[in-house]
């Protein structure tokens, strides 16, 4: 055996080569030693007399770790310390570490409650038994417990509580306090099916008298509730507590961002307040931040166009990335958030930004906002200012650094949800978009008012064409010469024409591209869409189409043509012709007295067929 006594003889821990912590051989004196107690989660230092027993040591530990002594299991150097042992016996000296395992009935050692713990409570079991309204009411805190037929649900659960409202508030509190429980409940299939039933949700919400008041004051909200897409999105958001939090934060961020935007955004804020206040008052206890989200998402999805613009997050961050049909939306939003961090907080901000943007989008859709938007549109200077806003720069940067996020963000635009094919087509374009965004030429082009105006003209021209001669666009490639675009933007390749325009759309909440954007996606047929993917894509598509004819390079043109055709082809099957598609709505509008067929059609296209929203659009555009 190797008796290399480098370590000074017997292998006593305290006399090991490096263990020079003295205090070794003084057993008799009650010296105070410092022993570290370590659990997988935490670490605490204890000063105890050297000759303590393990029992005594445990007593000191139990106080600090808030457990019973009999729940504590101490391990040192691979051995379990028994109560009657002493620390010295095990060679526990000053500066050494003892491992602690806290045994408890429900919990794993020292770990925080797992959902199962919360599940141990009645509430969880209550929520599990699935009564339709109960899960909804308990889970969808935003929607409030009391207001939503929760009573009926609870009674069906057979809960012993005699006071349903008390129980509900208890459940609500527990939910609020325990995210794990919330998650667990949310994951319950019953709850999910409940949440995915917009009709039911709408009923539940409408049943709330406060909500009814709110609806009276603000008819938009009824739009929200009546629009299944919005409801669905809202519910998706509600399902994901993390997203909810992000949205809340985003809203705050959005507001602060708005402040910094030069131009008429003070009005925006005023609008916010108008909507916020009643919503808040009505929903304070029960709705939390959800009404905002609803407002945001509803308007966005309902109005179509706006959200896509806002999605661009320009000065107005779009906190709410409406979840696409998939689950990944949650993650996406989170990631999106990260991407769109726009210089504000990083990951959280993004989600918030998205949500805020959505919220903003919804605000946009009100008639007042629309007039404001028009003002802004007419003032390219504003756009320029917006574009040069520092946070937008940082946003673009972060987006370009993380193209996936940007892709997700754009793809999550509510418009996309209606058109997954466009999503697919858009996806490969996105990295190029982002590169374009970083291209200083692009930036300068975007801040060039003339260029922007030219783009506007193009878009308008395309829009007109779309409505006048939808069949013309797909085969339109050469024709609309927009040499301006080609030169002003300085395309560099097939992707180029799309690139600059693309980002422009996304990042111009209002702008010139705006009108075309929304209309595009909403009514891809011909119009700007020429297969333009919703919103941003459309804009990009539009200019690209226009540029394609102009771009001299053969490959550019071919590429554009192909893209356009592909997009047109993709969209065609779904929305062959806005007129056909909205036939019914057009008739209704006519019956209501809106005789301007062109305007009706545009409005319908912009709102994706939502009559109510279209009417507002039509009304809103008139007085201004």
């Amino acid at each position: 055996m190797a008796e290399n006594g480098e370590s000074s003889g017997p292998p006593r821990p305290s006399r090991g080569p490096a263990a020079a912590q003295g205090s070794a051989a003084t057993p008799a004196e009650p010296k105070i030693i410092k022993v570290t107690v370590k659990t997988p989660k935490e670490k605490e230092e204890f000063a105890v007399p050297e000759n303590s027993s393990v029992q005594q040591f445990k007593e000191a530990i139990s106080k600090r770790f808030k457990s019973q002594t009999d729940q504590l299991v101490l391990i040192f150097a691979g051995k379990i310390l028994k109560d009657q042992d002493t620390l010295i016996q095990h060679g526990i000296h000053d500066g050494l570490t003892v491992h602690l395992v806290i045994k408890s009935q429900n919990r794993p050692q020292g770990q925080t409650t797992q959902p199962s713990n919360a599940a141990g409570t009645n509430t969880t079991s209550a929520s599990t038994p699935r009564s339709n309204s109960t899960p909804i009411s308990t889970n969808s805190n935003p929607f409030g417990l009391g207001s939503l037929g929760g009573l009926a649900g609870l009674s069906s659960l057979g809960l012993s509580s005699t006071n349903f409202s008390e129980l509900q508030s208890q459940m609500q509190q527990q939910l609020m306090a325990s995210p794990e429980m919330m998650i667990q409940i949310m994951e319950n299939p019953f709850v999910q099916s409940m949440l995915s039933n917009p009709d039911l949700m709408r009923q539940l919400i409408m049943a709330n008298p406060q909500m009814q008041q709110l609806i009276q004051r603000n008819p938009e909200i009824s739009h929200l509730l009546n629009n299944p897409d919005i409801m669905r999105q809202t519910l998706e958001i509600a399902r994901n507590p993390a997203m909810m939090q992000e949205m809340m934060r985003n809203q705050d961020l959005a507001l602060s961002n708005l402040e910094s935007i030069p131009g008429g955004y003070n009005a925006l804020r005023r609008m916010y307040t108008d909507i916020q206040e009643p919503m808040l008052n009505a929903a304070q206890e029960q709705f939390g931040g959800n009404p905002f989200a609803s407002v945001g998402s509803s308007s966005s999805s309902g109005e179509g166009a706006q959200p896509s613009r806002t999605e661009n997050r320009d000065p107005l961050p779009n906190p709410w990335a409406p979840p696409p049909a998939t689950q990944s939306s949650a993650t996406t939003s989170t990631t999106t958030s990260t991407g769109s961090g726009s210089g504000n907080s990083s990951s959280n901000a993004t989600g918030n930004t998205v949500a805020a943007a959505n919220y903003v989008a919804s605000i946009f859709s009100t008639p007042g906002m629309q007039s404001l938007l028009q003002q802004i549109t007419e003032n390219p200077q504003l756009i320029q200012n917006m574009l040069s806003a520092p946070y937008m720069r940082s946003m673009m940067q972060s987006l370009s650094q993380n193209p996936d996020l940007a892709a997700q963000m754009m793809l999550n635009s509510p418009l996309f949800t209606a058109n997954p094919q466009l999503q697919e087509q858009m996806r490969p374009q996105l990295p190029a978009f982002l590169q374009q965004m970083q291209n200083p030429d692009t930036l300068s082009a975007m801040s060039n008012p003339r260029a922007m105006q030219a783009l506007m003209q193009i878009q308008q021209g395309l829009q007109t064409l779309a409505t006048e001669a939808p069949g013309l666009i797909p085969s339109f490639t050469p024709g609309v010469g927009v040499g301006v675009l080609g030169t002003a933007i300085g395309p560099v390749g097939p992707v180029t024409p799309i690139g600059p325009i693309g980002p422009i759309v996304p990042f111009t909440p209002i702008g010139p591209i705006g009108p075309i954007g929304p209309t595009g996606p909403a009514g891809p047929p011909g119009s700007t869409g020429s297969g333009g993917p919703t919103g941003p894509t459309v804009s990009s598509a539009a200019p690209s189409e226009t540029t394609s004819p102009t771009s001299e390079s053969g490959p550019n043109q071919q590429f554009i043509q192909q893209m356009v055709q592909a997009l047109a082809g993709a969209s065609a099957p779904q929305l062959p012709n806005p007129e056909v598609r909205f036939q019914q709505q057009l008739e209704q509008l006519n019956a209501m007295g809106f005789l301007n067929r062109e305007a009706n059609l545009q409005a319908l296209i912009a709102t994706g067929g939502d009559i109510n929203a279209a009417i507002e659009r039509l009304l809103g555009s008139q007085p201004s």
């Binding site: 480098e6 292998p11 821990p13 370590k38 150097a77 691979g78 526990i92 491992h99 395992v101 050692q109």
Partner: protein, 147 residues
């Protein structure tokens, strides 16, 4: 006397084991495994006890598994012998005597002299979390093998 083998220095056994002893006492690591000499007077530093805290979200959760580890004369060039004292149902562990099959556990099968007792314990704990092990039904807590 350190022998130079190739380009590596072969650390003398006791040196290494004393280091491991100290680490075990200082609680190096994340607190989920522990090890130390079975007998403090053991001058040969051969017999060690180890402890693994069952990982959460597995069937081993909240259990404390006691092991015996024997570092032979060729340690650390040769792997140690490892044996569970607390009964456990796990792939690679003999169900009648708790002996860990060195061929079944990768760190033992492909032992390197840079590995240590800590590494072995951590690996066993990691294996508890593997899909093939994490749900195996376990004997009642606290039972030990009879040897």
């Amino acid at each position: 006397s350190a022998a130079i083998t190739g380009l590596r220095v072969k650390v003398p056994r006791n040196f290494r084991l004393l280091e491991e002893l100290e680490e075990g006492q200082k609680g190096v690591g994340d607190g989920t495994v522990s090890w130390g000499l079975e007998d403090d007077e053991d001058m040969t530093l051969t017999r060690w006890t180890g402890m693994i805290i069952g990982p959460p979200r597995t069937i081993y959760e909240n259990r404390i598994y006691s092991l015996k580890i024997e570092c032979g004369p060729k340690y650390p060039e040769a792997p140690p012998f490892v044996r569970f004292v607390t009964k456990i149902n796990m792939n690679g562990v003999n169900s009648s005597n708790g002996v860990v099959d060195p061929r079944a556990i990768s760190v033992l099968a492909k032992w390197q002299n840079s590995y240590s007792i800590k590494v072995v314990l951590q690996e066993l704990r990691r294996l508890m979390m593997s899909k093939e092990n994490m749900k195996l039904p376990q004997p009642p807590e606290g039972q030990c093998y009879s040897n």
